[in-house]
Amino acid sequence: MTAVGLGLPGFPPRAPDGVGFLRGTESFPEAAHHELANPQLRRNIAKATHTIREKRLRVTGELPDWQALRDTGSAVKVDTLNRLPELLEQFEAAVVARGGVVHWAADAIEADAIVTELVEATGSREVIKVKSMATQEIGLNEHLESVGIRAYETDLAELIVQLGHDKPSHILVPAIHRNRSEIREIFLNEMDGVDPNLDDDPQHLAAASRKFLRHKFMTVPVAVSGANFGIAETGTLGVVESEGNGRMCLTLPQTLITVMGIEKIIPRFADLEVFLQLLPRSSTGERMNPYTSMWTGVTPGDGPQNFHVVLLDNGRTAALADAIGRQALKCIRCSACLNVCPVYEQTGGHAYGSTYPGPIGAVLTPQLTGMTGKDDPNASLPFASSLCGACFDACPVEIDIPSLLIELRHQKVEHTGFGPEAAAMRAASIAMSSATRFALAQKAAGLGRLVAGKKGTISTLPPPLSGWTDARDIPAPPRQTFRQWWKSAEGRAAIAEARAEASS
């Protein structure tokens, strides 16, 4: 897998550690353990996932060409990745031709530094923000705060998360783990100038956020956004949203800074006809989201007159360097896979420890960060799945998440499993390479019955094999193998009987 040549040897670097939000502090099973003990979280997540997935099925079922749209969406994204250098250069030229400035950030540290410098150049100590996964991934708000710049999240859910000193738990509805009474408490305690008589009616809570943010929209001169699409052909950027906070941020300030992953490119403006059908229906289960904004560089007399776009790598080229893993870069962040996942439905998003939760997070996060050892929390993510395949069925761009999970499990064992797991896999590989060896190994396995004792299961193995039995019991090996049974008198008799029955 190591690349050599062209004077740039080596596998592309992963996202650096210690900056941003791509790695939690504990493994998925450990984190899931706490989350499962929170009945409110489970109730809220179950309600949200079930409601959205039913709406999604209804509106995708309306389109007789839904599958054709998925096929095209998938192929356009594969084509994009195949031609990424030329498309990025084309995009850059188009943005520059329309008065925008393009910056390239090799990782989160560089992206944070670029945005900070751009904000400082305006003299503003405040920025308003549109909900963005990329800026969450690079920990932009925290970085800005460390240099004395206050970032205001303007999406209602992101505001709730920010004021609650919390983390998002869902890609689409990040504050879904919070109930209205908690949100009221958060607003009363953290929102400047809030009405002390605020009740917990969602209408009133939304109105409070409108009032709080309106002043910011009208006065803060810098906005930071992400992007759903960047169109190579024209340099056009697109943001889809519901509340109008995105429109405010993209329209009113003098300076706009957009942080976009390099995989968000699509080749042609006409390709929007596919993605503007796939994304809203997969994401919120609506035929179309209330607002979509599209802009190209700078337009005199309309919107920000200073426009910057920061193209972010941060481990994406490492994912691209993996022929199987790269398909995770097709993701358009709709969150349909979260809403159908039986594992996510139980644990919610926090257990994944990353900006990207759920099935797509389980395959994207470990590729962005790498899996650094058996104790790396992200090495546990490919195992956070039952491999049921519902995510693959739901994905509007046909990312084969189950196959990716299996590939990453394999890589985890190959690269980080220096312990008993790797030894066991190597032993299995040797044993299975010849029939004689396999028979001998199976005989030896029968000895395991001595360990299992009368209850027929093995609950604790001594180190170094204890990793296996920490979280599961192993059934004792059977008394005889299938091959032994086949050759035995008992087996021969059973087969003869079955044959007689079949021919009678």
């Binding site: 250098p85 109930n179 599209m294 560089g297 337009t299 691209l320």
Partner: protein
């Protein structure tokens, strides 16, 4: 070495070491659809009402009376319009009409009770109105800051689906797609209408293309 060179180098290297599988993009989905006026407009009205937009219908001759009624019913006294809006549209309106200009600071738009604009193209299947900052629509802030947006949609600007509507756009123009009023489901998934964008969207469907401003 610049980060641009570094990143492009990483990508090219990745594509050499794990060569891409060539792909032909299939285009089997529906495009170039047409529907008779009546069916197209029924579909659009159904979608707009599903989003809680208020829908009105009239012919060109009755547009000024219709707009005056809609604005009055909405309680609007001070109404903003873009520079290129047909003056005759608000001939029957008794309140104050403010023509927007780039010298007016966006926060001042908050003093408007409503805004009246035209539209570039509309998609029936999704109930989506496309605003492309044309002279009859104005800058983006104008249709964003006031709380009531009255949008005139001509029947001949209504297309069946997303591909047909997008094909009529000029990509480089700043474009806003509007599907109903602003909304959120962020609190316990309960739908709340009207967060930051206009809380009220009134759509006036006009059966014939209105004549251009004579001036």
């Amino acid at each position: 070495m610049s980060s641009r060179t570094v990143i492009l180098g990483r990508i090219r290297e990745a594509l050499v070491d794990a060569p891409p599988t060539p792909v032909t993009v299939p285009r089997e989905y529906r495009v170039d659809r047409t529907l008779p006026d009546a069916e197209r407009i029924d579909l659009l009205i159904d979608r707009l009402e599903d989003y809680d937009a208020r829908v009105y219908r009239c012919d060109t001759a009755h547009l000024p009376a219709m707009l005056a009624r809609v604005l009055t019913d909405a309680g609007a006294r001070r109404v903003g319009v873009p520079t290129g809006l047909d003056e005759s549209w608000l001939a029957d309106f008794g309140g104050e009409v403010v023509v927007d200009g780039t010298d007016i600071p966006a926060p001042d738009l908050e003093d408007l009770d409503a805004v009246v604009t035209g539209s570039a193209v509309t998609c029936a299947e999704t109930g989506t109105i496309f605003l492309d900052a044309g002279p009859d629509q104005g800058r983006r802030a104008l249709t964003l800051v006031p709380d009531v947006h009255v949008c005139v949609v001509t029947v001949d600007s209504v297309e069946v689906g997303v591909p047909e509507a997008l094909a009529r756009l000029v990509p480089e123009r700043p474009t806003t797609l509007v599907s109903g009023p602003s909304a959120t489901v962020d609190i316990e998934l309960e739908r709340v209408q009207g967060v930051h964008g206009p809380r009220h969207l009134h759509v006036v469907l006009v059966d014939q293309a209105p004549p251009r401003t004579p001036s």
